[in-house]
């Protein structure tokens, strides 16, 4: 049961295509797990179709159709395919589709087969291959009982729980739950499940610490 959803205007921006890729990834991954939000996106996309329909057509250049017909057999240059893996691959099915395409080979064992990099004893990370100035996109795995040092955000932090869960001042977050925190939140998540908490975390600006503790270990500082 998913209790925390992206705000509707974020789903709307996703449908209109105006979100930066890292944020769009977080929204798409949530939507892969959440039929309710999927429906909101369908609605907004249908609106986009209706708006396309209200435009007065503008004639194409002469020869445009022939030019496209001549290109139909060209091989497709697909940048995304390079990173993608077959959905049928063992262990991959537990990783939502939109996210899967940004990961390398996922072997049997699913999450465990990914190339986690230890940051502290309690925290491991995988940086996703989206290079955008001002953004940091990672999978983070926090050990049971781990806490993230208290911090506030200069920008916005989007967190989507994929496995396990955490709690903070605003409630309990379990797989599929989406959190969206900005400057107004002082944030102290605690992993209170028995298993590690794996989340997709998108930061759109550096985070400032509210205390000295954790400056060295706080992954949110490493942009």
């Amino acid at each position: 049961m998913i209790n925390h959803h992206p705000p509707l205007e974020l789903l709307f921006d996703y449908a209109a295509g105006t979100l930066p890729e890292p944020v769009a990834l977080a929204v798409a991954t949530h939507a892969a797990l959440c039929p309710m939000c999927r429906d909101d996106i369908d609605a907004a996309e249908a609106l986009g179709g209706a708006m396309l329909d209200t435009l007065t057509p503008v004639p194409m250049q002469e020869g445009a159709l022939d030019a496209v017909l001549a290109r139909l057999d060209e091989p497709e240059v697909e940048t995304l395919a390079a990173n993608s893996i077959a959905a049928s691959e063992e262990g991959a099915h537990m990783i939502p589709g939109p996210l899967r395409r940004y990961l390398g080979a996922v072997r049997a064992g699913g999450w465990d087969s990914l190339p986690w990099r230890g940051i502290t004893r309690a925290l491991e990370e995988i940086r996703l291959p989206i290079r955008m100035p001002g953004f940091k996109v990672s999978l983070m795995r926090l050990a049971p009982g781990a806490t993230v040092p208290v911090h506030t955000h200069r920008g916005v932090e989007y967190t989507l729980v994929l496995s396990g869960g955490f709690s903070d001042e605003t409630g309990e977050y379990l797989p599929g739950d989406f959190a969206c925190k900005d400057q107004s939140h002082v944030h102290r998540p605690v992993v209170d499940t028995d298993e590690p908490c794996i989340s997709l975390v998108v930061l759109d600006a550096p985070v400032k610490l509210t205390g000295m503790v954790g400056r060295l270990v706080n992954p949110f500082l490493r942009m």
Binding site: A32, E45, M51, V58, L65, D66
Partner: protein
């Protein structure tokens, strides 16, 4: 019009009884022959397609090009492309959608040549992605909107738009919404256009900035000098209005 081309214009009335339809041939020597329709003195479309005068059906097909094709027809055509790599079906889709996609590009601030390129690239993507189209999930126009949206992001921002395919969405069982509960957005196209026309201007402006000008809700708030909460509520109201209208009119 291309520089240096030789152009010959002839006109003739195809159906003297009905509306006055004049077919203009423009022969661009060495390249192709393009046609334009004029119905009752109003230019309809200029089709940059090869036209053979011996093809009796061509004139009829050309006339259809200016008209709106309904959703069932468009869905059939996309499926013909998906299943049989049907180039005739694709050409018909091109005549329907490409000029609309070009208008979309121009509305977003592109010059005509760039908008033309966007439309061509989107049509090429339509050819390649036709197999992913599912008429039970989206109307043809909505699906094409998502294609041109993604192509725009690809061309102008050099980013990707992470997609949620239906099978992926279905992967995770959820007790929240059974498939039957989903609203039938797939058949709502014409209805949405009509509801759209009834929305208050302040909501329309927000929707236009989002869909046509590629602006997120926070940028829209800045541009319109409105509190973020106001823009959010206009988006919510706009979508709520569509949802309310949908089931009643579909009965």
């Amino acid at each position: 019009m291309r520089d240096g081309s030789t152009v010959r214009d002839t006109s003739r009335v195809i159906r003297p009884g009905g509306p006055r339809v004049v077919l203009h041939y423009r022969l661009t020597v060495g390249l192709d022959m393009s046609t334009a329709f004029v119905i009752d003195g109003v230019p309809q479309l200029n089709l940059g397609v090869r036209f053979r005068s011996r093809d009796r059906d061509a004139a009829t097909r050309m006339m259809q090009a200016g008209a709106r094709l309904d959703n069932d027809r468009l869905c059939d055509l996309i499926e013909a492309v998906a299943q049989h790599k049907d180039r005739r079906a694709f050409s018909e889709l091109f005549r329907h959608f490409a000029p609309r996609l070009k208008a979309f590009g121009i509305r977003q601030g592109s010059d005509a040549a760039t908008a033309d390129e966007l439309a061509q690239e989107a049509m090429l993507a339509l050819w390649r992605k036709a197999a992913t189209f599912d008429r039970s999930r989206a109307s043809a126009t909505t699906w094409v909107f998502t294609i041109v949206r993604n192509k725009r992001i690809d061309m102008f921002r050099r980013q990707r738009h992470p997609e949620v395919a239906l099978d992926e969405a279905a992967e995770q069982p959820s007790e929240e919404a059974a498939p039957d509960d989903r609203l039938q957005w797939s058949t709502a196209g014409d209805l949405l256009s009509r509801v759209l026309a009834t929305l208050p201007q302040d909501q329309i402006v927000v929707l236009q900035k989002a869909f046509y000008e590629d602006k997120s809700h926070s940028v829209i708030a800045e541009e319109l000098n409105l509190p973020l909460g106001t823009v959010k509520s206009r988006i919510r109201l706009g979508l709520a209005r569509l949802r309310q209208a949908l089931p009643e009119e579909q009965l």
